[in-house]
């Protein structure tokens, strides 16, 4: 968020549009603010990082977060008021779905010591194919006033 704010400030100073900025915007990905978030500059496991397509990978040490959604794009709609006050509407929208059998992904669910249930992700995906379950999109939004 700090990197995006710095990017917004710079664009605003240069009289460029700031109405909608995404982490996947090419000019943000090429900016120094984005470069500081790249892997190599930060630990992917302890701090998270920005990926090649602008997705944000969360810190892997946060078990709850990474198992909820560990890779997403961040969007921000901003207006600038008086006294250099910015009003930002942040949002994350993701699709909750599972990969098909072709990807061969397995989810390990620990049940007891030395007992892990191995569930193929394709099974959950298959439920959507036969109409028992559905993929869905989910959104997180929050507002922020900042200078």
């Amino acid at each position: 968020m700090l990197a995006l704010k710095n990017h917004i400030k710079e664009k605003s100073t240069k009289k460029k549009p700031i109405a909608l900025i995404k982490t996947s915007d090419p000019d943000f990905l090429q900016s120094s603010y984005s470069l500081s978030l790249k892997q190599g500059k930060r630990s992917a496991s302890r701090q998270g990082c920005i990926l090649g397509d602008g997705a944000l990978l969360v810190e892997q040490s946060n078990q709850a977060l990474k198992n909820t959604d560990h890779r997403f794009h961040l969007h921000v709609k901003t207006t600038k008021g008086g006294d250099n006050l910015y009003m930002s509407f942040w949002s994350v929208e993701s699709v909750y779905d599972f990969e098909s059998f072709a990807k061969n992904n397995i989810t390990n669910i620990p049940l007891a010591k030395d007992f892990i249930l191995k569930m193929p992700d394709g099974l959950a995906h298959y439920l959507t194919i036969i109409g028992v379950a559905k993929d869905f999109t989910y959104t997180a939004v929050w507002y922020e006033a900042w200078k």
């Binding site: 397509d53 779905d97 390990n108 669910i109 620990p110 010591k113 892990i116 249930l117 028992v132």
Partner: protein
């Protein structure tokens, strides 16, 4: 596949998971040893970690001693270095170990035919 059986299976699994007191992470990372390497007389261990629930992400990790992993895939020692495999950068061609730091080399050509566990490793 019998739909009723499938739904029953999922329901049973969810019940078992919900009742399990051992499970503090809900989903465990899958960690497998890729290779034991020797650098300047010292033994080092490279692991592949696959993490996540509905979307999976993969990482290489370098350890200075052979780690033990708990039920959730957490190691008993800190990795010296780790690197995320970013599939948006291309196909993984090589894993480089340089000054005890891991770097993935990508190529834009071809498809990912080689399993991440069998990627060539170059020690500089």
């Amino acid at each position: 596949m019998n739909i009723k059986l499938l739904v029953l299976f999922f329901s049973l699994m969810l019940s078992v998971i919900a009742c399990s007191s051992e499970n503090e992470c809900f989903v465990a990372d899958a960690v497998t040893q890729v290779k034991k390497i020797n650098i300047k007389g010292g033994e080092y261990f490279i692991y592949l970690r696959i993490a996540g629930f509905n979307k999976k992400e993969s990482f290489y990790e370098l350890y200075g001693s052979e780690p033990k992993f708990d039920l959730c895939g957490k190691s008993d020692t800190l990795a010296i270095s780790d690197t995320h495999i970013d599939s948006t950068e291309g196909i993984v061609e090589q894993l480089v170990v340089d000054d005890l730091k891991l770097t993935v080399v990508y190529t834009k050509n071809g498809t990912q035919d080689t399993d991440y566990k069998n990627i060539p490793i170059k020690i500089k």
